[in-house]
């Protein structure tokens, strides 16, 4: 059953209970990560005169091997600012040559379940959002979040990267996990740009949209309605609303005011919870693209303002 609603996203009240052991849960998760390792293989067909591209692999939570594209400006031995880019829910990580041309050593991560990182963990799509969703200890996103955090650690350990100048960029799932990254690695993330943040106000979103991915939870509940309370409790450990107050890094957030995928109510709500200096841009008439292409120059200017890259193109 559906209704056509009149909405005022900016004034919506969205709350997510904070589990009392939230901090301990994530500390335990990250304490269990193996030492940062990285195996690189140069990819000549993807490289250019300006940028060297590598297939990078590292070991993450529960010893799962994670893949990434790693694009580095060709340079003279100076350290580059680093950038982690995080893919959307159904997107595969792109080869980040564009960002490398702007002067960033860029790691485009494929967290578990994405192609090249799905040999062991492969819940599929639809699937990831509800994989073991009733149990926060084994929820599929636990390792997924850890994979992104470990990507930051791996990038910071690279000799060609200035670990004092690392940023995070992404939209949708990449936006939500940008918030998580800044919360869990406050010593590493200098700034982040987060578009249309997903995984924020998760439970509320199932009452605000019929669009995927959140529709996956609605579908799961059709079959398992008795698990609604357990799912709500589990999701609270993963909701960006509970990570946002831990953030200290400057952030640039942008949302579409008619986003059917990540409802703008949740964008306003998580922005309100964010710590650190923050800027929010809203785009009327826009949905999940959240103002692209107009927002792209703003993202680049924001990151450059904090990370001072030197373009190589």
């Amino acid at each position: 059953m559906t209704v056509t609603a009149t909405r005022d996203p900016a004034t919506a009240v969205i709350t997510v209970p904070r589990p009392p052991d939230f901090d301990e849960f994530w500390a335990r998760t990250l304490d269990g990560l193996p030492e940062p390792d990285a195996a690189l293989a140069y990819l000549p067909t993807l490289s250019t005169d300006a940028v060297a591209v590598f297939d990078l692999r590292y070991t993450s939570y529960q010893d799962v091997e994670i893949a990434a594209w790693y694009a580095v400006p060709r340079g003279d031995g100076r350290a580059f600012p680093g950038l982690v880019t995080i893919p959307g829910y159904i997107s595969e990580p792109s080869v980040p040559r564009y960002w490398a041309e702007l002067g960033y050593a860029t790691l485009s991560v494929a967290p578990r379940g994405k192609l090249r990182s799905n040999a062991v963990f492969n819940p599929g799509y639809p699937g990831l959002l509800t994989h073991n969703i009733v149990d926060h200890h084994t929820y599929g996103y636990r390792g997924f979040y850890a994979d992104v955090i470990r990507a930051l650690d791996v990038l910071a350990a690279r000799p060609e990267v200035d670990a004092q100048r690392i940023g995070v960029q992404g939209s949708s799932q990449g936006g939500g996990l940008g918030i998580v990254s800044a919360a869990l690695r406050p010593d590493l993330v200098r700034c982040f740009a987060a578009g249309a943040p997903y995984l924020c106000g998760i439970w509320a979103s199932t009452r605000l949209t019929h669009s995927y991915p959140y529709e996956e939870i609605t579908e799961y509940l059709r079959v398992h309605p008795e698990q609604a309370e357990e799912i709500q409790r589990s999701l609270a450990y993963y909701d960006g609303m509970n990570f946002a107050p831990l953030v200290r890094a400057p952030s640039y957030v942008y949302i579409g005011l008619e986003d059917d995928v990540c409802p703008p109510e949740t964008g306003f709500a998580v922005f309100g919870e964010l710590g650190g200096d923050k800027v929010l841009d809203t785009y009327a008439g826009c949905a999940h693209h959240a103002g692209l292409p107009w927002v792209q120059p703003k993202i680049e200017a924001f990151l450059a303002g904090h990370l001072t890259p030197e373009a190589v193109r």
């Binding site: 059953m1 559906t2 209704v3 056509t4 609603a5 909405r7 000549p44 067909t45 993807l46 250019t48 159904i90 997107s91 595969e92 792109s94 080869v95 192609l115 599929g124 799509y125 639809p126 199932t206 009452r207 605000l208 949209t209 019929h210 669009s211 995927y212 991915p213 529709e215 609605t218 579908e219 799961y220 059709r222 079959v223 579409g256 005011l257 008619e258 986003d259 059917d260 785009y283 009327a284 008439g285 826009c286 949905a287 999940h288 693209h289 692209l292 292409p293 107009w294």
Partner: protein
Amino acid sequence: MSEFDRYWRAVDEELAAVPAGPVLTQVPARSTVDFTAYDVHLTSIGPYRIFGFLSIPTGDGPFPAVLETPRYGSVNQPPHYRDRLRYLTFTVMHRGQRLADVPFQAGYPGLATLGIEDPLSYVYRGIVADCLRGAEFLRSRQEIDPARTAVTGDDLALLTAARRPGFAAMRSSGPPEVEEEIADRLRAYPEHTDRIQHTRSLFDPDRHAESITAATLRVGRDLELTHRDAEDDAVLDTWLAGQLGVAPMSKFGLVPR
């Protein structure tokens, strides 16, 4: 007969020789009082087993029907709730995509240039066949109104409408974003330039468009996007709804009770 016609006739003949062998499995999670969902497995050329999401509205029908051809990417989501309310929908997963990735898993980047040096080895020969099989399956359903069928997607929708006359409407978002992949291939193998261009010419959407009998809406030709994507979506949805005789419906305005 031109090489172009011979090439595509051979695809049709190869597909006709392969029984589709459809298997439908009802999916309670994606079913409501308004529609019933099925996972569908079909055989395409190769032979290769492909996948699709089918949704059939509740009621006696006949229903307007929409074939969603696959995007360029690993994952296609099930059809949107608003479309399942209004149409019989079938969404195809082509070979290599999730749910159709055994034994072949498509790579991104990589798929757009796989086998591109030879038209017979180019992966898109099979991918187009997968879409044509999807079209045949959709139009075999007894619940559809044959006068109100449409195909949507990127260039694959256009090629499908060209190769399978009978659709009332075709809506294409334009070519997939693969030019960077093609450019990388040409840079790595400049000696293959002519062969790659020859293969691509057989898939040229403008060349195929001449055969389309459906009403068409091609983004970039008939419509320039504003990039205010909610507004663009409303225009695209309204056009298709008008072609198939149903009411437009906003994704954003559709809220679960």
